[in-house]
Symmetry: C2
Subunit: 190 residues, 2 copies
């Protein structure tokens, strides 16, 4: 297994299958991770993330101007629920249980064991942020676990099932991504 850089032109494919994500950020030495199901692409190089007013991570994003969207796997579902149910505001050693690593160039915490990571630089828009809790970001760095995403394509069917992405419904119910199919035509290319 290796964590490989993803070509920024193909990084959108990490998110396009619609996984539930975790968002992390750091400011002034303080780091945090939250769960986020309302994250989407805005074209093929930008991200829009809903970060509620109650989220401690929001302050870190607002102050630093950066956030990381990471794509957890089935194996990490307990972590996703843990970071979703517990706030740094009440448990400020929250991250003791979450193994973090860094990539060169970026002083941003990445959660170990994910399928993919996207570093986003906030494109400020006060109305979206204040009225709708939406933070737009340009994708400026991306990596994947090459067992599940390599050469710009997901390869779940060749990897252990515990490395599949998770797609959260509600009340603890979620689905893993399933079986892949390839038509010989369709938008996008290799």
């Amino acid at each position: 297994m290796a964590i490989k850089k993803v070509d920024l032109k193909k990084a959108y494919r990490l998110l396009q299958i619609g996984p539930t994500t975790m968002i992390s950020a750091k400011h002034n030495g303080i780091e945090n991770v939250m769960a986020a199901a309302w994250v989407s692409l805005v074209g093929n190089n930008k991200v829009m993330a809903f970060i509620g007013k109650q989220a401690f991570t929001r302050e870190l994003v607002e102050k630093s101007g950066y956030y990381v969207v990471q794509i957890p796997t089935v194996k990490q579902m307990n972590t996703v629920l843990y970071v979703g149910e517990n706030s740094y505001k009440t448990i400020n050693n929250k991250l003791d249980k979450i193994p973090i690593f860094y990539q060169d160039e970026f002083d941003l915490p990445l959660v170990e064991g994910c399928a993919g990571w996207l570093i986003c630089k906030v494109i400020p828009n006060a109305r979206n942020e204040k009225e709708h809790n939406l933070f737009m970001g340009e994708i400026i760095g991306a990596w994947s676990d090459d067992r599940v995403f390599n050469n710009g394509h997901w390869i779940f069917d060749d990897a252990p099932d515990e490395l599949r992405t998770v797609h959260y419904v509600a009340g603890g119910q979620f689905y893993a991504i399933g079986k892949g199919t390839k038509f010989n035509h369709g938008p996008g290319s290799d």
Copy 2:
């Protein structure tokens, strides 16, 4: 099989698993359907959809103030690729091949055979629309095929595999949603 109304409080769950969608709209008797992978939730009652400037459907949305987000199944993947690869601008009998139906109250075309449908009323925001091709909409109506979504929950594991949602990557590659799991805790409730 029945098409059942979905409680608007739970309609967000149709989209939260991150499916590739089709967007339809109608204005002045003209209707169209497009493929859309960049559609997300904004909280639990709103949608944000990326609708590019080249899309004929965009004019229908701008003029009518409404759009429908529908969630296709594996069985409809050819339809998704067809509407994604062919524009009404060049093939204006595009919809001859796409069976459409209507729900009472709404003069909007819904594509037959989908897993779910969400009617969205545009919340105007000129900057998002012009600069980023983003159309925000409030969810004002929702239905599901009760074989796959019932009582506010997806039930894919009890239904034929061809009714699973699709999650598009690029170049004709897509994944179906996979196996479900239920933890006994987690955000959201029944």
